[in-house]
């Protein structure tokens, strides 16, 4: 059997969340300059991700980088509210966009992954016996390669080859001089549609392409991204492709 066909395989590492945080806050209107900050207390910049909701029970859950689709006309934004997430060596930053004209209370759940160059010792994030860490009812994606690309300039292309023969799942984070962002990528775009200038006046002008043999990391002409962190998985993208 191929590695990707196993739900779990003890010969391969697992994703390990080394940081878990929850918070609630109200998005002001307008949102210009507003950022909700959470101190993470880690000795490195975590690779952050997570989800958010307008309800405390997370009935409808949104990814960071996504948002609430307007119930009627789309105006200046494809979302009424959206949240982006980033981190630096000290804090996690939740960056809202709100074009609805009204304040909105949101609830966020944040996880952090250890970057590939970390050798830190860390406290546990799960208590054995309290919850099931593994269940055969689910697949556990199996990292094929976790690494980083550093020293990037604008308009750069870096190709990482893999030998999987199919398009794998991949997650990536882009870092500029200030913060590490979770997977906000634009390609061939001359202006951002809904992401405002949240990185010191510049958007994350970068992209990641995945093929059956490569992962291609690009920075755009206006990009100040200088580092990518990424995880390529043995698991196929889209369930079966």
């Amino acid at each position: 059997m191929a590695i990707a066909d196993f739900l779990y395989n003890s010969d391969f590492v697992q994703d390990k969340a080394i940081l878990l945080e929850s918070a609630s806050f109200t998005i002001p209107t307008p949102t210009a300059g507003y950022t909700f900050t959470i101190a993470h207390g880690l000795p490195f910049t975590p690779l952050v991700g997570g989800s958010w909701s307008t309800s405390s029970n997370f009935l409808v859950t949104y990814d960071f980088g996504s948002g609430v689709i307007p119930s009627s006309n789309i105006g200046a934004s494809i979302f009424d509210y959206s949240l982006e997430i980033a981190a630096d060596s000290t804090n996690i930053y939740i960056i809202p966009t709100n074009v609805s004209g009204a304040t909105q209370t949101v609830h966020v759940r944040v996880f952090g992954i250890e970057p590939s160059d970390s050798t830190a010792t860390l406290p546990h994030t799960a208590s054995s016996g309290d919850v099931f860490a593994f269940s055969t009812g689910y697949n556990y994606t199996k990292p094929y390669e976790a690494s980083k690309i550093t020293g990037l300039a604008s308009s750069s292309t870096t190709t990482i080859t893999h030998s999987l023969g199919y398009v794998p799942q991949l997650t990536a984070w882009a870092t500029n001089s200030a913060r590490t962002f979770n997977s906000v990528f634009f390609e061939d775009v001359t202006y951002p549609i809904y992401v405002s200038s949240f990185i010191g006046g510049s958007v994350v002008d970068a992209s990641v392409e995945v093929t059956t043999t490569t992962a291609i990391f690009k920075t755009g002409s206006s990009s100040n991204t200088n580092r990518f962190d990424y995880v390529i998985y043995y698991d196929r993208s889209g369930g079966t492709s």
Binding site: A17, V60, I78, F111, T119, L122, D188, I193
Partner: protein, 138 residues
């Protein structure tokens, strides 16, 4: 206190449960007319994932189907016509939840011009490859 990177697996660190995976597509029709300063949007809804699941998404366009972009949203520059003259515009492909278990895949074309925009020739199919995960909180 341990070094997480030294473990192949350990139940002492929370992980992510992959509870679904599928693909779907949205066709943006050739030569669509978009009103001046208006927009056009085409969507497909799919049922995937459990409540509170998060998404790992790749998106591709039939105009360069060899590439899949790892992103929840993606913008492409295209050239159409405004008053019979070539005019650049942007196509945005993106996903968002509309309910606990429903995911909407959309293609959005805003018209930045005051006159009607006729989009590019040839249907463009956007394929969304989606894998869903229950995060450690669930």
């Amino acid at each position: 206190m341990t070094t997480p990177s030294s473990f192949i697996s350990t139940s002492d660190y929370a992980t992510f449960k992959n509870d679904g995976g599928t693909s779907t597509f949205v066709v943006y029709a050739a030569s669509t007319s978009v009103a001046g300063n208006g927009y056009s949007v085409v969507s497909a809804d799919i049922a995937i994932g459990k409540q509170a699941s998060i998404n790992r998404v790749q998106i591709s366009s039939s105009k360069d189907s060899s590439k899949r972009y790892s992103s929840l949203s993606l913008s492409f520059n295209r050239t159409g016509l405004v008053s019979a003259s070539p005019a650049g515009y942007t196509v945005v492909a993106y996903v968002s939840r509309t309910s606990a278990t429903n995911l909407r895949c959309s293609v959005y074309v805003p018209n930045p011009y005051s006159s009607a925009l006729t989009t590019a020739t040839g249907n463009e199919t956007f394929t969304f490859y989606i894998d869903t995960f229950l995060p450690p909180f669930v």
